[in-house]
Symmetry: C2
Subunit: 428 residues, 2 copies
């Protein structure tokens, strides 16, 4: 009757799952219809104090052994990483017909297509609510709650570290490098922060959301990625003046006959609900043909929220609630092509540092005109004849390829002193 | 293989459900794992143009006959109202072991406890995602997505008409009566608006959410209700000055050994995410012990969003995904007592119209002191000796019973010219 769990990986999330199952045993049992109990664990260090009772648990040296252990019904993979023991364990468990619950976005983003095929072939649940947006039940909302809709677009703040940094640049008028150093000191950013700030983590999550929203196998390589290293205080201030906030969004949308998926800094109108999601919070917006726009917001990381999502998946399994990995079976998945970033169409924010002298704006405007790019507004404050001044231009809808070509021309102008800053504008 | 649906009630929502099942047949079939098709309908007027194809449908005069019709697998009840044919149909279908999907908040709020018992006794799904917050999958999020948590509090903007009116009072500096008349002209408010503006509709929805959040049978009668008729432009302006927005919230929380559930206008800090949910949008905040605070936001009414929720329930049934009505079985439900409004504790906003003369504030302050009510701030603008002026007081945490007693005393003061305006303050 008890659903017996084997947990691989006892970091903060693993310890959180154990603590939740202990502290909330009564409510979990009621909602699952039967007890859920951890019976076996596998982690490197047996001695470390994890702040949670480990007595009575069997301890396996090899995490992959959980896939076939006779006293385990469901494997919870919390090792992390797209390769190595995490992948080996998931594959072994699915091959054995044993349900897998994981918080591992890299694994699902990179190997999810193959894992989903294995899961369907062996009729085995593969669940990963915790892989995207932590405790926010966004996978369930998209895959079940909005299942009646054709989704046209999803957009999300999917990385709390980046959102914390961008919020701090906005609020404290600091520069990226200083805020990052502070975030590292406070533990909000890793010592090696590139996974977060270069957008890889957000791209993993976006790839998973796009697969579910559009009913096609996950395609991480198709996601265009830019991180936030080049977001300057100057651009954040100009964005504010223009009525926008700068956010790192993961966006996927139906475009023509395909799907575009991209992670990059965006200008978002200050009035858009997602523009106000600050600090370490995550949010996901989904637009469906019948439901309209729905937004979910909450904590995207941390032991508690992640454990909440892992155990929600376990409760689904305990109740026998089953949903195919990408929302519908393999035979019904689409093979909509990827739309490359060069075909992206939208408005752009462009900031140049130019020498303040007559004719410079005319040269820039001529370059844009030659690529049929139409200007919405232009901002230049004060005058400093002969000195470097920032000039901000906002375009109407423009194709990325044209924008890039115009930018290459503009960058060759004598009066343009630095590489231009180009930031896409999103509706939020 | 096809899931055969009988629809009772073909108003805008019923027509929306038919249209969704026709237009999105491919995606619904893929996500449901099999086709979902309407085979029979029952509505009063067979001739009205509903903008949707009705050819080939069997038409039943008696909606209750759908409960036993041999060509129907699931009954969709969209008649509305807590009594009459809606109730008769739901009871007959559940007694017959036939799943029921409904958008009827009144029915679930008033008779949900008995219907849930019937559903469990006959092991039959009873689903009502569309009854609360329209297309936002808040029932699913709370009952499944956050199932691992002990919920301490839920709060929601649950009535789009009220939120539209309060937003307009705020934005256009108008008074309630004028905004209501406009909303009626625009079709955002009913000719008889009392169900919405007196808070009954929001209370139905809150009762349902509270039952799921706290795992106890729905108890509509236990909800304390105040509507928005007495919200004045003056109070909205003072709230703004103090850093708040006025919203009609439905709030339920664990308090001591019980549950308090109440619908009334609230001052909510401007910085709280729910304070920025404007116009006809709905939102629900849930606070769980592991997940923290999660907010869901979207369209709470209309044919499209409601149809989205109804069909999501049908897809769950088609897939065999089952969840007990209140999230866990009858045997595990709690019987936590209701906490009456007199025991509510929180800060209060109090606005008096007083004669501007020495000693008035002292008399008011003395009344508050005598009931051990501690003042956080006091606002009085300008001076008009001998004239009526508004005075605003904000208290620290206070028990409602003490507040009411103090208010009764204050109302007897000579210098107090109108019944005081008392609005509770919520964290959002």
């Amino acid at each position: 009757m008890t659903l017996r769990i084997g947990v691989a990986g006892l970091g903060t999330v693993g310890a959180g799952v154990l603590r939740l199952l202990q502290e909330n045993a009564a409510v979990v049992t009621a909602r699952a219809g039967r007890p859920i109990a951890v019976t076996a664990v596998s982690a490197r260090d047996r001695k470390r104090d994890r702040g949670v009772a480990l007595a009575g648990l069997r301890w396996l040296d090899d995490p992959v052994a959980l896939a076939t252990d006779p006293d385990v019904d469901v494997v919870v993979e919390l090792i992390g990483g797209s390769e190595g023991p995490a992948r080996d364990l998931a594959e072994a468990a699915l091959a054995h017909g044993r349900p897998v619950v994981t918080a591992n976005k890299a694994l699902i983003a990179v190997h999810g297509a193959a894992l989903a095929q294995m899961a369907e072939a062996t009729d085995t649940p593969l669940a990963f609510e915790a892989a995207v947006a932590g405790g926010i039940p966004v996978i369930k909302a998209l895959r079940e709650g909005l299942a009646a809709n054709r989704i046209s677009r999803i957009a999300g703040i999917l990385n709390g570290t980046c959102n914390y940094i961008l919020t701090a640049i906005h609020e404290h008028k600091q520069e990226f490098a200083d805020v990052l150093a502070e975030a590292q000191a406070l533990g909000y950013a890793e010592a090696d922060p590139s996974f977060d700030i270069d957008g890889i983590d957000a791209a993993h999550k976006l790839a998973i959301l796009a697969a579910i929203a559009f009913g096609r196998p996950v395609a991480f390589d198709a996601v265009y990625v830019e991180g936030i290293r080049n977001v300057s205080g100057l651009d954040v201030a100009f964005a504010e003046e223009l009525g926008y906030r700068i956010k790192l969004l993961g966006t996927a949308r139906r475009m023509g006959g395909g799907i575009e998926a991209r992670v990059h800094p965006c200008l978002v109108p200050r009035t858009a609900p997602i523009a106000r999601v600050d600090g370490v919070f995550n949010a996901v917006v989904a637009e469906g043909d019948f439901v309209g726009r729905v937004m979910l917001e909450g904590r995207g990381a941390g032991a508690g929220p992640t454990a909440s999502a892992v155990v929600a998946d376990l409760i689904d399994i305990a109740r026998g609630r089953f949903t195919p990995v990408w929302g519908s079976g393999q035979a019904t998945l689409t093979d909509l092509p990827d739309v490359p970033i060069a075909q992206h169409v939208g408005p752009y924010y462009l900031r140049l540092m130019v020498v303040d002298r007559p004719g410079v704006i005319a040269d820039v405007a001529a370059a844009l005109r030659d690529y049929s790019i139409s200007l919405g507004s232009l901002l230049q404050h004060g005058r400093s004849p002969g000195e470097a001044v920032p000039v901000v231009l906002v375009t109407h809808d423009t194709q990325e390829a044209a924008m890039r070509a115009a930018l290459a021309r503009i960058a060759t102008l004598d009066a343009v002193l630095e590489p231009p800053a180009l930031i896409r504008i999103e509706p939020g």
